[in-house]
């Protein structure tokens, strides 16, 4: 139903848009600021959470005093809360760029997994430029370094070994080519963490393929926890992580003793090996020396032997010569004898030969004779034969017979002759034979004799030759022997020289080795069970500081928007009031026409609600679009996080909305109520203006009479409209207050630095001893006192302490000094407001102001101190000193002694540098 009442409402708005829009915009402003600034913190957290989710940030990082071996990893993998686990290697190295030295943390990545299953890689690096490494000698570098240093893709970084030679024990590759730049979820802030190398702070990080690490154990483990749905910035997450840390601690409690045993055994083995090696070396040295001594002795012996041999040689040579000469003489004699015999023999032989040849002649004769005989015989035989064939008595036969008989006679004769000759011959032959025999015997003998002589001669010759040979040989041998001996002597000398030259070094080396072994043994002694330190992601520096910063943003979101909101509320209030009051006549008309009060009020409610409604909608939309982004971008300068989504924070939007409605509707209702209380007649009459009143000032004629009319009117007006006056004053006061607060904040924060670091902490340098001890301290102090740039220094003890009062605990640094008068030169203890000095005595401690305030401590109160590994002690607070950075508790050495029974270990030195700048 198009009804006029609605029309009048609508036209009321449309015809006079300025007021309506004013309300709408002021509501929008207040709501946008409120919901926007309040949305900033959740949006920032959500963005961070999403980022950490997207890149699989690990929930727990564990480091160990002794690294992790595979069994440790296995045990952790099987933990109830472990969803995924990633062991990693990491080492810090120095890199030079443009003449500046950077300390980079090199961490291992699994390049295979990154390219094949990026979604399952924990703490997946976020590639900003370039690509991930594919070769062993490639790396991706911290994107932060691009802004501050001169790195480009394609550059090579070189890890320095000059100041850090041990790094080669961790990496087998020292040169890496930059192929990309990355951000890491482990480093969402600019903080890069601390290191034990260099000045202790890391400049950046780099990821390199796992294969480059030669470490035996993993340096760290990253674990993603199961069943985490909460925001990483919430208490629930913290609790879950703490539970997980407990579980890890339990696992550690089982693994660490095992590991300790293992390490100890391995170390012992190594030490044993070392010891043995040292022993071997010692043995070698002493055996070497012994050998030299022996060699010397041998040489001497050899020399002696040589002499002896030479003498022997001489003797033998002489003896042999003598023998030989004797033999020669003997031979000569023999020869002579033999010669004689030979002559004799030869004569005999000649004789014999003569006889033989005679005999030969005789033999020939004989043979002739024989022959003839034989011929005769054969003739005879032949004739006989013939005879046989002839008839006896024939002429032939008779002839033959005669022949035969002749022949036979001849034959017989010849035979007899022959026989005689033969006998003679035989006799002769026998004689000859005998002679021959004799001769041959003699010959034999002679031969024998000659043989013997020859033999003897040969032998002599042989012996002579042998003698010669031996002599020569002997001589050569002796020469050789002498040469050898000399050579050996020279060698020995050389060896001796070498020994003497090298011995001191060798001894030194052995001494070093011995020292190293001792050190190793001492270190093994000192070796404690490994300790695991589990760090939750909520404790990660970047996440923690982001949490704090978003808390601060939320804190800002608590108060500042309220102020804006109040302003908005005030504006709404006055505007609505004015609107309703100005519409008094119309209210009267409507009332006169019989519209119920409620209906009439609804007109203004619609007005205010719709204005507020639009304002809220506008405010929420713009607020959540602008503020979170603006604030996050401002923080983005120091954080590497993706941009924040402009999400509406329902909670604060609702609160803002309700607040806005209340601020617009309630005044509307109130003023409506007031107006509608009147009867229509009254309403339709113009409102009677407020009656004028005299003001207090008028009672002071001294002033009042001096004022002119305008001034008097002004004065009157000021006090006449008290509400307006109040609002103006409050408004201006509020604004001034805000502006003043802003400036005040800026100045306070800015001035804090010089006050803290010039007036309170007057030292320029602090040196912490990694290993305490008299020697180390005096070394350090002598270095400092010898350094011309150091003006003065003082040593002290610093440790972290937990201080407890009845219901709260807070951590602080405990500083113990043994020289209070000198200490004041380095740290000013004074009251903040008055700057009166606060003295440190032996009866109590001096605490810093904020610390005291946070624990609610006043001078004279007692607090309980708990230092790690020391019993709890109670101390009285006798002074509170001005301080702006961190919390400190100052104590004298004497007090410390009385509390703990011993002096504290001096572990630090403050020093002041001469002002040369």
């Amino acid at each position: 139903m198009k009804n006029s009442f609605h029309k009048t409402i609508l036209r009321h708005i449309i015809n006079n848009p300025r007021r309506y829009l004013a309300i709408m915009f002021i509501v929008a402003l207040g709501v946008s600021f409120f919901s926007g600034v309040r949305a900033a913190s959740p949006n920032m957290r959500d963005a961070a959470d999403k980022y950490l989710d997207d890149y699989n940030a690990s929930d727990i990082q564990i480091i160990s005093t002794l690294g992790f071996d595979d069994e440790d990893i296995q045990a952790l993998r099987q933990a109830k809360n472990t969803d995924a686990i990633m062991p990693a290697y990491s080492v810090d190295g120095f890199v030079i760029n443009d003449g500046r030295t950077l300390l980079i943390n090199f961490q291992s990545i699994d390049t295979e997994k990154i390219s094949s299953q990026p979604k399952s890689v924990l703490n997946m690096p976020v590639l900003v430029e370039g690509r991930f490494p594919s070769e062993k000698n490639e790396c991706v570098l911290d994107y932060l370094l691009v802004d501050f240093y001169n790195f480009k893709i394609g550059d090579t970084i070189q890890i320095q070994t000059s100041s850090d030679p041990d790094i080669v024990k961790s990496l087998n590759q020292l040169e890496y080519k930059i192929v990309g730049f990355v951000n890491s979820v482990q480093y969402i802030s600019f903080q890069r963490g601390s290191s034990t190398k260099g000045d202790g702070s890391l400049t950046g990080f780099a990821f390199i393929p796992e294969g480059n690490f030669t470490l035996e154990v993993y340096t760290g483990v990253f674990i993603k926890a199961k069943n985490i749905t909460e925001s990483r910035f919430s208490e629930e997450y913290k609790n879950k992580i703490n539970q997980f840390k407990e579980e890890i601690k339990q696992i550690g409690n089982i693994r660490n003793p095992q590991r300790y045993q293992q390490i100890k055994e391995d170390a012992e083995k190594e030490l044993e090996k070392g010891r043995k090696e040292l022993k071997d070396a010692e043995n070698k040295l002493s055996s070497g020396e012994k050998e030299i001594l022996e060699g010397e002795k041998k040489l001497n012996d050899g020399q002696k032997e040589l002499e002896a041999n030479r003498k022997k040689y001489q003797d033998e040579i002489t003896k042999a010569k003598k023998e030989l000469d004797a033999a020669k003489v003997k031979l000569e004699d023999s020869r002579k004898a033999l010669d004689g015999n030979q002559k004799q023999l030869n004569a005999a032989k000649d004789e014999l030969n003569r006889a033989k040849s005679e005999m030969e002649g005789k033999k020939a004769q004989l043979e002739q004779g024989e022959q003839a005989v034989s011929e005769l015989y054969s003739q005879i035989s032949a004739l006989t034969l013939q005879l046989e064939h002839l008839s006896p008595g024939s002429s032939e036969a008779i002839e033959i017979e005669s022949q035969i008989s002749q022949l036979k006679n001849l034959y017989n004769q010849m035979s007899r002759e022959l026989e005689e000759s033969r006998k003679l011959f035989e006799q002769g032959m026998a004689q000859i034979e005998e002679n021959e025999k004799k001769l041959s015997q003699n010959e034999i003998q002679l031969k024998k004799g000659w043989d013997e002589y020859n033999k003897g001669k040969a032998e002599y010759e042989k012996n002579l030759a042998l003698y010669e040979k031996s002599k020569a040989e002997g001589a050569t041998k002796l020469e050789e022997a002498e040469r050898e001996l000399n050579k050996s002597r020279r060698e020995l000398e050389k060896a001796k020289k070498e020994l003497n030259e090298k011995k001191p070094d060798a001894l030194k080396e052995m001494e070093n080795a011995r020292k190293k072994l001792e050190e190793g043994e001492r270190e093994l002694e000192k070796l404690k069970e490994p300790e695991w330190y589990a760090i939750g992601l909520n404790e990660n520096t970047g996440v923690y500081s982001y949490n704090q910063d978003t808390d601060r943003v939320a804190a800002i979101g608590l108060v500042f928007p309220l102020i804006f909101f109040l302003v908005a509320a005030l504006v709404c209030l006055t505007n609505m009031t004015r609107i309703v009051e100005d519409d008094r006549t119309n209210i009267g008309i409507l009332k006169a026409l019989g519209y119920s009060g409620f209906k009439i009020a609804s007109k203004y409610l619609v007005y205010s609600c719709s204005a507020a409604g639009f304002g809220i909608a506008l405010g929420v939309l713009t607020g959540s679009a602008i503020f979170p982004r603006v604030i996050a971008d401002a923080y983005g300068i120091i954080y590497a996080l993706p941009p924040v989504a402009g999400e509406i924070d329902v909670n604060s939007s609702c609160i803002a909305g309700i607040g806005a409605i209340i601020c617009t509707v309630v005044p509307t209702l109130l003023v409506c109520y007031k107006e509608l209380a009147a009867v229509p007649a009254t309403l339709m009459r113009p409102r009677a203006p407020k009656s004028g009143r005299r003001i207090m000032l008028e009672r002071l004629p001294v002033i009042w009479n001096r004022l002119n009319f305008s001034q008097k009117v002004t004065c009157r007006n000021l006090f006449r409209y008290k509400k307006r006056l109040l609002m103006t004053v409050l408004g201006i006061a509020g604004c001034t207050g805000l502006v003043y607060t802003g400036f005040g904040l800026k100045d306070s924060i800015r001035l804090m630095v010089p006050v803290q670091y010039e007036q309170i902490q007057k030292y320029d340098m602090t040196v912490f001893l990694r290993e305490t001890g008299e020697e180390n301290l005096s070394d350090l102090e002598s270095v400092l006192s010898n350094n011309q740039n150091v003006k003065d220094f003082i040593h002290f003890h610093q440790t972290e302490v937990d201080a407890t009062t009845d219901n709260s605990t807070l951590s602080a640094y405990l500083i113990v000094t043994d020289n209070t008068e000198k200490f004041y030169k380095f740290i000013t203890l004074r009251k903040r407001r008055t700057h009166t000095p606060v003295r440190l005595s032996n009866s109590g401690v001096v605490i810093t102001e904020k610390f005291g305030r946070m624990l609610g401590i006043k001078i004279g109160d007692t607090i309980t101190l708990k230092v790690r590994e020391k019993p709890e002690v109670k101390v009285k607070v006798e002074g509170i000193t001005e301080n702006y950075v961190m919390h400190y508790i100052y104590m004298t050495d004497e007090l410390y002694q009385s509390l703990y029974g011993e002096s504290p270990e001096i572990n630090a030195v403050y020093s002041q540098i001469r002002d040369n700048s």
């Binding site: 139903m1 009804n3 006029s4 009442f5 029309k7 009048t8 036209r11 009321h12 015809n15 006549t585 119309n586 009267g588 008309i589 409507l590 009332k591 006169a592 026409l593 019989g594 519209y595 119920s596 009060g597 009867v679 229509p680 007649a681 009254t682 339709m684 009677a688 009656s691």
Partner: protein, 234 residues
Amino acid sequence: MAGYVSFQNVVKEYKMGDVTVRAADGITFDAEKGEFVVVVGPSGAGKTTVLNMLGGMDTCDGGKIFVDGVEVSAFNKKQLTTYRRHDIGFVFQFYNLVQNLTALENVELAAQICKNPLDARQVLKDVGLENRMGNFPAQLSGGEQQRVSIARALAKNPKLLLCDEPTGALDDATGRQVLELLHKTCKNTGMTVFVITHNQAITPVADRIIKLRNGRVREIIRNENPLPVERIEW
């Protein structure tokens, strides 16, 4: 016997700081249904006060007011609202139209909450504003505005039509027209009409004349033979 409308010793006081003013000081009168009543008196006599109290626009501080047998002066706020809604049609001296509604809408505004309203257009036609229905009060002349105001009151079809100086700002001719309209309505519909005026010349039209002075009723005159409006001399 109380009439259709009955005022019995009605008192109205205004306190402003220490000052008390009695706008109505014991007003007593009666009026019959369907009468055309004119209330006259000099300025400050209490005429508007009486009308306001009669119309439920204001409360009284003493005495009783009866309308159609009902004690209006005893009404609570809610009852007064209902009373004003359905039973009263008020024509204001200074029109009191809603500036951001047209003539027609102004009339509709009043009509749409009534039990038995007349058709707004028709009423506007009846008052002669057929061509001005779509104009805003700022675009209408004084007489036209007053007629809208009357149309508004008429459209409500009330028991009582109360007019506070309806012709006060009008010229002779327009005034007559308006008066004619009111009279006609009174006679044609049987509506009881009260007209306040300080112009004595109007009084012959009335059936009853109530003269007020200083917050009291001076005289009540019953007019047996009222004159028609044309015959009035302003």
